[in-house]
Amino acid sequence: MTFLLRRLAFYLVTAWAAITLNFFIPRMLPGNPVQSLITRYQGQLSTDATKALYALFGLDEDTSLWQQYLDYWGRLFSGDLGLSFTYFPTPVAEVIEQSLPWTLILVGLSTMVSFTLGTLAGAYLGWRRGRWTDALLPIGSFFSAIPYFWLGLIAIAVLAVAWPLFPSSGGWDGAFVPSWDADFIWSAVYHGALPAITIVISSIAGWMLGMRNMTVTVAAEDYVTVAHAKGLKERTVMFAYAARNAVLPNVSGFALSLGFIVGGTLVTEIVFSYPGIGYILYQGVSAKDYPLMQGVFLIITLSVLAANMLADLAYALLDPRTRQEG
């Protein structure tokens, strides 16, 4: 249990650090963006919104930094992330609430698929190394070097424009109203397919290469030779002895690269105008909508932390050594 407790403490510290970073970023940067914003949104900003903006950038001269920090936490705990300019006067929390499920499903599912397929393929390649399949390595590294968003562009050009099999943008057909009926869900799946395929193709090679190298390393371990000497079936040796151990670093690598993957998938959403968090972030950035950007960053970080905890839990279940007492 100590392993999980230590990890839990780590996540609390990281969450605190991310939230604090979020508080300080606008204060540390030069310039006074608020005035220009107010001029830009002339007449659209309510007094409350202007006040919130001053508080956000720490330009509220009357309160001390410490007091500002406390106020920031207070607002956070009541779920108040400020008002969005772009979707004025919708609160940021509400904007995020609407887009988060789209991202969670799209990114969550496609990442799981990519991890599973990539790990299986990597185990196979590592096990069968020294054959023609080794030629997949440079091809794989080529694919892993392609930015997600560019593959998205190509996918749209080929499968949505030149050969219109899939819709090129959006999360569902405009004719429907979001609800839980079969037509709408089907439309959402249909719209999500191309972004999902893009994410899977661009991230699968990374898992494959990592797992391949770990399998090659583990295949030279004594216990794998012992398993062969025992005359166990090839399948048993490969899965229960080699792959079973090789997957451990891949799982911890999964946790650590989540932050990176999420970055790539966010841009994929931008390319597909997919109604998730990444697209919202893009809208925020284009409109210099600071409350929205900050809220989105906070939510992304907390989601990545949550996903990390799940990966840690999986690791603890997979490796008996972490369950050791003391």
Partner: protein, 313 residues
């Protein structure tokens, strides 16, 4: 059993030659060399001024414009060449900043141990878990003018954690080795030990971390340019994609506008990855493929040693 020779204690110079002999790494270095040459020559070999407008609007590849033109008649090949320098400079600068930071944090953490190690490791892990790209996007968009140097600085300051983690682990194991213990017992100064005993043995890992960060930096800056966060007048491959996207190149079927830039990114990334393969195989001898050349009639297999009887003798 085949004994694996300890390769960690090879001099950097010999190690570099070993990496070079690896065919994957050599291929990667050749591609990198070509990109570096293009970046250095820049406007000397570019057929046009990348910003110059011309009457050839949105034309496909031709003798006059090898990679076609944009909707304002700009030459795409020239933009690509001009962009190479920006991509490489930002990538290398960010990689250098992140590498220095990762060495400082990683080696210190591994060497001092105790509470200092705990604190530095915590710092690195926090930076590792916080998603870097959204952070970079936000910081870059808050900054009044986000040019190449600023972008490199932001990427470097956020991308050091991975390397420092690996360096810390390696330093920890080196610290316990005999030769470091002996140097300590001889009363050599801390700095001497770090610079002359520890760092030379970390060269391969530092190099691999540097390359990894350059890949990350290249992808990040291109992504930033593509979504229009950074200055759209500095040419890099992402800028080309930004203009292609905002001018509906996709819908108009102008593939020459966005395909070459993407291929360049992938090619540069592949080249860097191949060099890293070479370093990995150097650090972990188990990854080396036997002689790198497949031999007819022999299937190397774990658990079933191949048998090839020689006809004679």
């Amino acid at each position: 059993m085949a004994t694996t020779t300890p390769t960690a204690l090879v001099t950097p110079r010999r190690g570099f030659r070993l990496v070079l002999r690896n065919r994957k790494a050599a291929a990667g270095l050749i591609i990198l060399g070509v990109f570096a040459l293009v970046a250095a020559l820049g406007e000397l070999i570019a057929p046009y001024d990348p910003d110059a407008l011309s009457p050839a609007l949105l034309e496909g590849p031709s003798g006059a414009h090898w990679l076609g033109t944009t909707n304002t008649g700009q030459d795409i090949l020239s933009q690509l060449i001009a962009g190479t320098r920006g991509v490489l400079l930002v990538g290398l600068l960010a990689g250098a900043i992140a590498t220095v930071l990762s060495i400082v944090v990683g080696v210190t953490a591994g060497f001092v141990g105790g509470a200092g190690d705990e604190a530095l490791s915590l710092l690195a892990n926090v930076f590792l878990v916080i998603p870097a790209l959204p952070l970079i996007i936000i910081v870059a968009s808050l900054l009044p003018s986000a040019g190449g140097t600023t972008v490199a600085l932001v990427i470097g300051l956020t991308g050091w954690a991975w390397g420092s983690r690996i360096l810390r682990a390696q330093t920890l194991s080196l610290r316990r080795r005999d030769f470091v213990q002996a140097a300590r017992a001889n009363g050599e100064s801390l700095w001497r030990i770090v610079f002359f005993e520890i760092l030379p043995n970390l060269t391969a890992i530092i190099a691999s971390g540097f390359i990894g960060t350059v890949i990350f930096a290249v992808l990040s800056q291109i992504t930033l340019a593509f979504i229009g966060v950074t200055s759209v007048s500095d040419w890099n491959w992402g800028t080309i994609l930004f203009w292609a996207q905002s001018n509906q190149a996709l819908a108009q079927g102008a593939w020459w506008w966005f395909v070459p830039a993407g291929l360049c990114i992938a090619l540069l990334g592949t080249a860097l990855t191949l060099v890293n393969f070479g370093i990995d195989e150097f650090v972990n001898p188990r990854l080396r493929t036997g002689g790198n050349r497949p031999v007819k009639g022999i299937r190397p297999r774990v658990g079933f040693t191949p048998v090839r009887r020689k006809e004679t003798s």
